[in-house]
């Protein structure tokens, strides 16, 4: 008996030891995982902050881009080619001439025998969609003629739809809702693989942002539009903020189209501009679930949203002329504006409920009134922008009120705090709180709001007490391993079910640690580049805290300085150890954050401030040069460069004298032949990481 007791005793001791050991390991593991989770979070935070800051910067340059586009596209329309003139004229064809138009495309554009890609025949069938999926899986490209025909047909179909689509789940079991895809074809193919392709039995809704950033935006559009044509009652699309031809200039879609389609690229882009503007703005399922791309604001009015001609909203970068609002306010009732904006397609809209007011029978009268509203001069423009006045508005404009309604639903983001404030992060739309959500849902007797627009680590997020869902379908959006993608399965009892996935390039599974390190590295790299392009301003600010020029400031001062210059709202103290060195007394050596960086090709003749400005606006300059360079030679003249730069800098309120510009222009004319190879030029202002450079040499 004695032996038995001591045996159990020692056994008990043993297992107690084991338990203690287990707890220790679990403790350690959870701490390690938490630190990893923090690194992943702030990496995502960095990417997001930089992304939104760039969006905001682009919006601030909207006047400039509009001017550039109007000015330069007009110049090139003077050298007409019959094809483009023809296509411009057919924009208002009604449905019966559709076949005629498709035939015209066939006559105008030849598809060579050597073309091995899919050949579409209209009306499209499931065979065509299967052929397209197959072709894109094997990296083939659809010929421009079929693209144009497809886009033409898509526009015809979209025009017949109301601004807000109403769906019912009673005819099918479940509807699948996908968020942003951003040109990531692998994600779309993965979704179709997991969930089946769209059909009458398998309806889908894609909630905007199909294009930009990824390299297969065109293919995604082709697939979605093809399915739309085959299953118009089962494939639904909502417009996103990136379905906007001016945003596309900056975020890669325009570039992709021009690169893939060369000569026909312009036509495709022009037609796309129209197709985008005809995409529905929102969808409501079973009168209970509202689905739209961005969010809502405290002034969102679903009745108003359903009324006007949505195709007048071409781009967020082309807001309505402020004079419109002034003059229209002279009219007795706001209803007058609404009358004049009703087009014939809206008259067919079933969802005219909620609209109160007399219909005007005399539409042409209303149109005349509208044209008068826009006849005034835009006298508040600076002299160099008077070109804008001469660009004729083909369609009557949106009112400021209508425009805000659309921008709010395409650009807003939810927040945890109550209230509704303007979205300073992005520069458009609002931040809306749970009270705004509740109020809107209650007003329209809705159960929940599904939106996209923001990248989420898990591919989805549920907030506002379950009333708002964010769904994001582009996995690895910022970087390989940055986030999962997800889609929603919604069945008739309207309880969402989430399916997550992640496209993986490597067959070998990486550890969480490795994956996080990749994302973190990439984020920090982007951040350091951003820091470098503000070097002079940062140093000036640091020196304010260091009057004795010791080279060191406190961590707190450093964090304040960083935020005041960069406005990225990042946890600077957490990031400090990754960005800058500490001295022996725990003070920050503020110059150390520039150690690893330099400009690719320093130009001695040019002032550092000017160089830094070019680095900062490199991406914008690329867009501008591509607009100017119509014949795609890669060259622009020195005079064009100087003129462009002068206008650009006046918008940014940068004072650079002509002498400095001249010097720069001649310095970058590397061949000394009077023209600048702008790709070479842009490369010169690339920020490089010295360490990486050394490694790769």
């Amino acid at each position: 008996m004695g032996c038995g007791t001591s045996a159990t005793e020692s056994q008990a001791k043993k297992s107690e030891k084991a338990i203690k050991a287990a707890i220790l390991i679990q403790r350690w593991y959870r701490c390690a995982m938490a630190r990893l989770e923090m690194r992943r979070r702030y990496a995502l935070n960095i990417f997001q902050s930089i992304e939104y800051a760039e969006e905001q910067a682009q919006l601030q340059l909207s006047d400039f881009f509009t001017f550039m586009l109007d000015h330069f596209t007009q110049l090139n329309e003077t050298d007409t080619d019959s094809v483009s003139h023809f296509f411009d004229g057919i924009s208002d064809f009604n449905t019966t001439s559709s076949d005629l138009v498709l035939l015209e495309y066939e006559k105008m554009i030849e598809v060579p025998h050597s073309y091995r890609g899919p050949r579409l025949s209209f009306p499209l069938t499931a065979e065509d969609t299967a052929a397209l999926l197959h072709a894109f899986k094997y990296h083939q490209q659809l010929h421009a003629r079929y693209v144009l025909q497809l886009l033409h047909e898509t526009r015809r179909v979209l025009r017949q739809m109301p601004n807000i689509t109403h769906l019912s789940t009673s005819y099918s079991k479940e509807i699948t809702i996908c968020g942003d895809l951003h040109g990531k074809l692998d994600d779309l193919l993965l979704i179709f693989y997991k969930n089946g392709v769209p059909s009458e039995k398998n309806p889908y809704l894609f909630n905007g942002d199909f294009v930009d950033r990824g390299k297969n935006s065109m293919e995604i559009l082709i697939i979605l539009f093809a399915f739309l044509l085959v299953y118009p009652n089962d494939l639904h699309l909502n417009r996103g903020n990136h379905e906007d031809h001016l945003i596309n200039l900056r975020y890669g879609f325009t570039k992709e189209v021009m690169k893939k389609y060369w000569y026909h690229g312009q036509k495709i882009l022009r037609l796309l501009e129209d197709v985008f503007s005809w995409l529905p703005l929102a969808t409501i399922i079973d009168s209970k679930v509202l689905i739209l791309h961005g969010g809502i604001s405290d002034t969102t009015d679903l009745d108003l949203l359903n009324l006007f001609s949505r195709n007048k909203m071409k781009s967020v970068l082309k807001p309505p002329n402020p004079h419109t609002e002034k003059k229209s306010s002279l009219n007795k009732t706001g209803l007058v504006e609404q009358h004049s904006s009703v087009s014939k397609s809206m008259a067919k809209s079933p969802a005219m409920s909620g609209y109160r007011g007399p219909h005007t029978n005399d539409r042409s009268d209303a149109e005349k009134r509208t044209r008068r509203l826009h006849g005034g001069t835009r006298s508040d423009l600076p002299p160099q922008m008077h070109y804008l006045e001469s660009s004729a508005c083909k369609l009557p404009e949106l009112t400021a009120k209508e425009w805000k309604q659309v921008v709010d639903i395409l650009w807003s983001d939810p927040k945890t705090q109550k209230g509704c404030t303007s979205n300073k992060y992005r520069g458009a739309g609002c931040y809306f709180g749970p009270d705004v959500t509740s109020r809107l849902l209650k007003k329209y007797n809705l159960k929940m709001l599904i939106r996209s627009h923001e990248c989420k680590q898990e591919g989805y997020e549920v907030i506002h007490g379950g009333k708002v869902i964010t769904i994001f379908s582009a996995s690895n959006y910022y970087e390989e391993g940055s986030n999962r993608g997800a889609y929603i399965k919604l069945n008739p009892d309207l309880i969402p079910r989430f399916v997550q996935y992640q496209v993986s390039k490597h067959t070998r599974k990486e550890t969480l640690n490795q994956r996080v390190s990749v994302v973190e590295c990439s984020a920090l790299k982007s951040l350091r580049e951003k820091i470098y392009t503000h070097r002079l301003e940062l140093i000036e600010t640091f020196k304010q805290y260091d009057p004795n020029d010791t080279g060191y400031i406190s961590v707190g001062e450093w964090a304040l300085a960083m935020e005041s210059v960069l406005h990225l709202d990042l946890p600077w103290r957490t990031l400090r150890s990754r960005l800058v060195q500490l001295g022996s007394d725990e003070r920050v050596d503020y110059l150390s954050c520039f150690d690893d960086l330099e400009i690719e090709r320093p130009l001695k003749e040019v002032q550092p401030a000017l160089v830094e400005t070019f680095c900062r606006y490199r991406n914008d300059l690329e867009i501008i040069f591509n607009i100017i360079d119509k014949d795609r030679s890669g060259l622009i003249s020195i005079e064009e460069f100087r003129q462009t730069w002068r206008f650009f800098s006046s918008h940014l309120n940068i004072n650079i004298d002509d002498e400095a510009i001249n010097k720069l222009a001649h310095a970058i004319d590397f061949n000394k032949d009077g023209s600048i190879d702008f790709n070479e030029f842009l490369e010169a202002f690339h920020v490089v990481h010295k360490f990486e450079k050394r490694k790769n040499q």
């Binding site: 390991i25 701490c31 938490a34």
Partner: protein
């Protein structure tokens, strides 16, 4: 001292206030706060974590933790150097205790049993994640000495 308080307030603020925007556990703030506490260099067990949170949670669970309560508690914890991280050798010894046959490695079954049945059990997700990093796919064994070394290197 005020320096670390500053650090803490800005750090925590940026994640607590925006926590639910990017949260892995939007409906479970405790999990969220646990992550924050652990990433500040503290290494509490689940039980110790619950004790800490019990000090700062509201009488009626609102789903949120107030910064005014959290900060003083957290500052105290940091200043008293409570829940210090575990040194490598102590960790190694813990694995050796579990390695009853003194093989120098643990089998997959052994590790799973210990981690999911003993102490403060892992969730399935936690178990899978640990295995993916720790296991040698060819032998299906966990050479814990190598695993620890790797984790320590990755941290730095």
């Amino acid at each position: 001292m005020s320096g670390s308080y500053d650090y803490l307030s800005v750090y925590s603020m940026s994640f607590i206030e925006r926590g639910s925007k990017d949260s892995k556990y939007p409906d479970n703030p405790f999990r969220e706060v646990g992550t924050i506490i652990r990433s500040l260099g503290c290494c509490p067990s689940e039980a110790e974590l619950h004790d800490m949170l019990a000090e700062v949670e509201e009488e009626e669970p609102t789903g949120y933790i107030h910064l005014e309560k959290f900060l003083p508690m957290m500052t105290k914890v940091l200043m008293e150097k409570r829940y210090r991280p575990i040194p490598e050798d102590v960790l190694l010894h813990a694995f050796e205790v579990l390695d009853q046959n003194k093989n120098g490695y643990l089998t997959k079954q052994e590790l799973i049993k210990c981690m999911t049945e003993e102490g403060e059990p892992f969730t399935q997700e936690e178990m899978e994640e640990m295995l993916s990093a720790a296991i040698d796919p060819e032998t299906n064994k966990i050479c814990y000495k190598d695993y620890i070394s790797m984790m320590v290197v990755d941290e730095n």
